[in-house]
Symmetry: C2
Amino acid sequence: MKIGDLATEVGIDIQTLRYYETQGLLDEPQRLQNGYRDYPDKAIASLMFIKKAKLVGFTLKEIKDLLAIQVTKDEHTCQEVKKFTQIKLDEISKKIKELTHIKSALKKIHTSCCGGDETAAHCSILSALES
Amino acid sequence: MKIGDLATEVGIDIQTLRYYETQGLLDEPQRLQNGYRDYPDKAIASLMFIKKAKLVGFTLKEIKDLLAIQVTKDEHTCQEVKKFTQIKLDEISKKIKELTHIKSALKKIHTSCCGGDETAAHCSILSALES
DNA sequence: ATAAACCCTAAAGTATACTATAGAGTCAAG
DNA sequence: CTTGACTCTATAGTATACTTTAGGGTTTAT
């Protein structure tokens, strides 16, 4: 799979794919005889993950770390992975919690603020969050 | 409340507070006789919201838009708010969904990959997401 | 009354994550 | 056999979100 096909497939710019490669987020693919990059199908999964992780506020560095998770039978590495995943799980729980708060505030504005006569006073994100 | 106190209170740098003001995210506060900014208590709530919204991947521009939600009795404005909040609700639902996926993958790695003998093969974020 | 700690503006500098440009080679269709 | 679409590297430019610097005034504690 050539870079243009991959770019179309995942909806990411060609330049960005090459940039991700330089940053170590995307494995260096095999090259064809002519020097063109030849991506394996699994590159699609990697990029979809990168897209989604970016959407929810992870930096490229953090995403790189997530993609780098590897457990070996070495106890040391195992403990490190346990520790790392725990930290990330906590971060994610926090993110979900914050999103849930913001969502409920927006929902409140969406469902009630355009209905009544005197409800408009509460229809800002901050006042919706307060109550 | 002076800018240093506010900065300490919310855990955001003084320079960043002034930057947010220039970007229209934070209301211009009253000034004391000496020209110092004098923030009302509600600035704390605004900044906590900004922090949380940033954490989950919203840009300053998007946060500004969220903070600007105002419903008046004007039908036109009301429809605009409805439309805007619906779009944001969809975005947030998507973010929560993605975070939930990533979370379950990490949980899988966290709970199972350091246990058995031959489990290590599945212990990457991508393979954990697949299944 | 003076030094440390705080505040001000304006402007330059930095990190992250792209995005575009230049100059060149490769390939498929007519 | 050439033209248009694709690829390559290297490098420069841009947008966002800070962060630092410079040069100055104010407040508080000793």
